[in-house]
Symmetry: C2
């Protein structure tokens, strides 16, 4: 079936946690266009992805409430009278989760209880769509990975995201707080954090290409991934938010077809007209935790909502490169003004999420 | 293969978290017999199962340290120089976890990070065996349930136990803290809490039978469960603790064959020579969360360690009834002296874990 939401969101009171972040802000733009009453909640924790520039151009048509979803009384207040909550707030760095597992637990696991308890006690009629992740699957037993694949995360972040997701399903099934989870694969596009390389490797590669730097690929670059352009991810959230057949379920939301790192980076360098690709040996400690190829089967979500990715990788990369070329200074540290001598990032040469 | 541990534990420094509880104290007895250096850690939180009478007779051959595994500095100290940690501390009530999800999260999820971080930083060579639960599977998709069944807990307790288990696997795989998890089904036997009915329904049924009260069965009692006598569960922990082939893996630890509630209770009443069974209508709210029949396939653990349950249900029930007949007053509230007029339990007439 196909979920039609063009009219659904008009005048609808929605809230987006993590609303100043990458996916949240792109979703907010779509909701503003649909005439929704949009409340963004974001903690603006440095390095987590929230950026006030992400709402440039729509700031006067939305409400921004700076708050931390770990704070129960705040959440109790904010969830009231909302029709739909898009629950996207989270800590997304895997490396950080292994260095400081407690903070990851507080933000990705405990905070989900905070949001859900607020709903259960103060707005049980609300609909919640949770931003899950393909990370919960860990190293795939077979490809493509569908929702019958075991959940066996390979890091603390994946575990806490899995627990956060399970809470949503239990609150749906036991307390009737309608909820579902979208397990997103690699989402890319404008407004993603590129200050450091701990949030999605595509964004980091794009930055390197724009800055005419070297993109390092471990091994021969044959490992496969699937990618979703952020507007397609936003469309997935909008469909899930407007449908009750998705309640209590998890859905993969991934790209149409897998693409190798080799292919991806050569396409990116072509489109950007700058940057270089270099193939290097696998560092032993990275090889040890490598999950090999990973791509998903999203047909369950297609069947249930009619969603299908509309933006090709080439087109998505083109739009993304163009966006960052235009607004690069809004996404760097104040001292990293474009045009200043290129320096090596202090986090190492390559993103973690590959 | 068969794990032989008769010599393994002699002089070995072991720690049992939740060591004054049901399974922990029975495991401690076995370890004392094997000549181990046994440290029990228990918070003695009222209503959680810790009971000093559980170490009656072995108290002078073990060390008891009252502490909460949520306390990082305490755990950092206690894990030092231990060879094996049996990590059994937990909050086991499902009803409690739905009433107060945060406490359940702290005890079953966050505290596991505390134990594992202590090991990673202060005793990375230790071996950890975690007490997992069949609850992580939720309602079975097919029977018997083996380890390839999806993890999809039906309540907050099951989610937090799943997260706690995943942490062990990740610390094994990433940090080399050797760990595995035993997913226990319904364990029964002496030394289980029977003050209230929120910890395992067999113990509660046994209390009702001993007190010549009525055991209420919902529906026709045809739902199946499998049961493990506590000495067999202790044997499973000892095998896992002495083996390195189990590291990084999860194992079902269940009974030899499933038995219906009808059969179980009639056997129990026969053995006890007291008590009555009454079949009543399913309360609607219980029926809604009923998982139907559930029993496990433990052949993976059998194959890996040679473990097999040795105590039949009839024999286990006989020993358990005998134990509680002899020591009932040690397992009741002070005011509930045996022989006083029977009163209805204030928690409702029947256990939650069925």
């Amino acid at each position: 079936m196909t979920v039609e939401y063009r009219e659904f969101y008009r005048g609808r009171a929605v809230m987006i946690t993590g609303g100043l972040g990458f996916i949240g802000s792109n979703l907010a733009r779509a909701l503003v266009d649909l005439g929704a009453d949009v409340l963004l909640v974001d903690s603006l924790i440095p390095d987590y992805g929230g950026n006030l520039f992400n709402i440039d151009g729509i700031a006067d048509r939305i409400t921004v409430n700076v708050a931390d979803i770990r704070q129960q009384s705040t959440m109790n207040y904010l969830v009231r009278d909302r029709d739909v909550i898009f629950n996207l707030a989270g800590q997304v760095s895997h490396i950080d989760s292994m260095r400081d597992p407690y903070t990851d637990l507080e933000i990705n696991c405990r905070s989900q209880l905070t949001v859900l308890e607020a709903c259960r006690n103060h707005n049980p009629g609300v609909k919640v769509v949770f931003a899950g992740t393909r990370q919960v699957y860990g190293k795939p037993a077979s490809l493509p990975v569908d929702e019958t694949h075991l959940v066996r995360p390979t890091d603390v972040n994946g575990i806490n995201k899995a627990a956060g997701e399970y809470y949503h399903l239990v609150y749906n099934n036991v307390f009737g707080v309608r909820a579902c989870s979208l397990r997103l694969t690699n989402v890319y596009g404008p407004r993603q954090l590129i200050k450091h390389n701990r949030q999605g490797f595509v964004a980091w590669f794009i930055r390197l290409a724009i800055e005419d730097r070297t993109i390092e690929i471990y091994g021969d670059g044959s490992q496969l991934r699937d990618f979703v352009y952020v507007d397609d991810a936003a469309d997935a959230f909008l469909r899930a938010g407007a449908s009750d057949t998705v309640n209590g379920e998890v859905f993969n939301v991934g790209g149409n077809q897998p693409i190798s790192h080799r292919h991806l980076t050569s396409l990116l360098v072509d489109i950007a007209g700058s940057g270089h690709v270099e193939y290097v040996e696998w560092p032993a400690e990275k090889k040890a935790i490598d999950i090999g190829s990973f791509y998903t089967d999203s047909s369950k979500f297609l069947r249930t909502t009619g969603w299908t990715p509309a933006v090709t990788l080439a087109e998505g990369l083109r739009r993304t490169v163009e966006f960052y070329r235009q607004h690069l200074n809004q996404y760097l540290e104040p001292r990293e003004t474009p045009g200043s001598p290129t320096r090596q990032p202090r986090w190492g040469g390559r993103s973690e999420r590959v």
